[in-house]
Symmetry: C2
Subunit: 188 residues, 2 copies
DNA sequence: GTATTATGGAGCATTCATGTTCCATAATGG
DNA sequence: CCATTATGGAACATGAATGCTCCATAATAC
């Protein structure tokens, strides 16, 4: 990875951190956080809009790649979701950015691409409802959103220091899969 | 409610809608949405910061009031949470605003007040863990955040047209309380 | 109906992020 | 070591949002 590539990566990484906390932060802040001059930032991303666009692309790519690498179509569905959770939780800042950016919220095609990235998860959930491992009285769309939301919440909560990030995957899976109620005991 | 009060309410209502979608929207947009001149907006809220502050106060009051009116300390915990869910879901825009506003995210005292408003929920969850109706292997802080996050997700999902808002309370409760997995059957 | 209060439009100064250019310096590659 | 490329600082123009003032008009109260 040459110097240009490294600079570009620094900028994207800094931008995702800064802009996920405050989507209206100035480009100076982003450049400073990346340890780079504002001039250089503009050399890589001529306008703010292009930076945002590149960031969204990058975040979507990461999410899609993380999900795909967890092979959600293989093995028992709950195990598959566990693998997805483990790989996606560390993407917290990117998820947070995608969720916070009004550019994303208001652009149809970006919402579409977000759900395209989540499509393998949706398929895993459908598979689970079909094979009886997941309850089938919840809409798949809702389950996908609730699941993604739980991961995002976990990252935010860890970021605020209310839980440890290392516990996040377990908490997400227990809560989403089994719920917070005491499970009914198998009768004695 | 005199004219001034109505104008103030219009402004707060419009602001919460506009700013929850884009926290950097201009004050002109807010005024226009409220059906009010920008001059009038500035008469009620001299600076943007004061408007935001008033909005946060208002949103926190609404949440606290809604929770309190659901009497979360009474009756079976799961029933209590159902009542809280029913009353809080309609506050979607206010919740969404509190969650999106960087002012809130970065001000310690506002985060503190958010959790103060949720304190009755935290107590209900503690009560549930103590009386055996809720599993006790999840940190209360996490359960509170996961629950609040699920309500927020439900509102967002309904806003995007992926579920019906009228189904939201049921979906939240089923998902959070029982989880998405098929419950283990009581033995034959 | 009149007095009082609330409103909104027009205009203006200020501030700040943004985008751009130019040049000197530093890092990299041959 | 030299040529090339990348960087960053300074300076500038632009535009948009903000905060404010003044005045005419509309709504409300008495």
């Amino acid at each position: 990875m040459g110097r240009p590539d490294r600079t570009r990566r620094s900028l994207l990484d800094a931008a995702v951190v800064v802009l996920s906390k405050d989507s209206s932060a100035s480009l100076s802040e982003v450049a400073t956080t990346a340890g780079v001059g504002r001039t250089t930032l503009h050399r890589y991303f001529p306008t703010r809009e292009l930076l945002i666009r590149a960031l969204v692309e990058d975040a979507l790519d990461r999410v899609a790649e993380a999900i795909s690498s967890a092979h959600p179509a293989e093995g028992p569905v709950v195990d598959a979701l566990q693998r997805v959770t483990d790989t996606v939780v560390p993407l917290g800042p990117s998820l947070s950015f995608l969720h916070a950016e009004p550019e994303v919220y208001n652009a149809r095609d970006l919402i579409r691409r977000w759900y395209e990235a989540l499509e393998p998860v949706a398929q895993a959930i459908e598979r689970g409802q079909a094979d009886g491992s997941l309850r089938d009285d919840l809409p798949v769309k809702w389950v996908v959103d609730a699941y993604a939301g739980a991961i995002l919440t976990a990252w935010d909560t860890a970021d605020e220091g209310r839980i440890w990030l290392q516990d996040a995957p377990r908490l997400v899976m227990t809560t989403i899969v089994q719920g917070i109620a005491t499970p009914p005991t198998d009768a004695p």
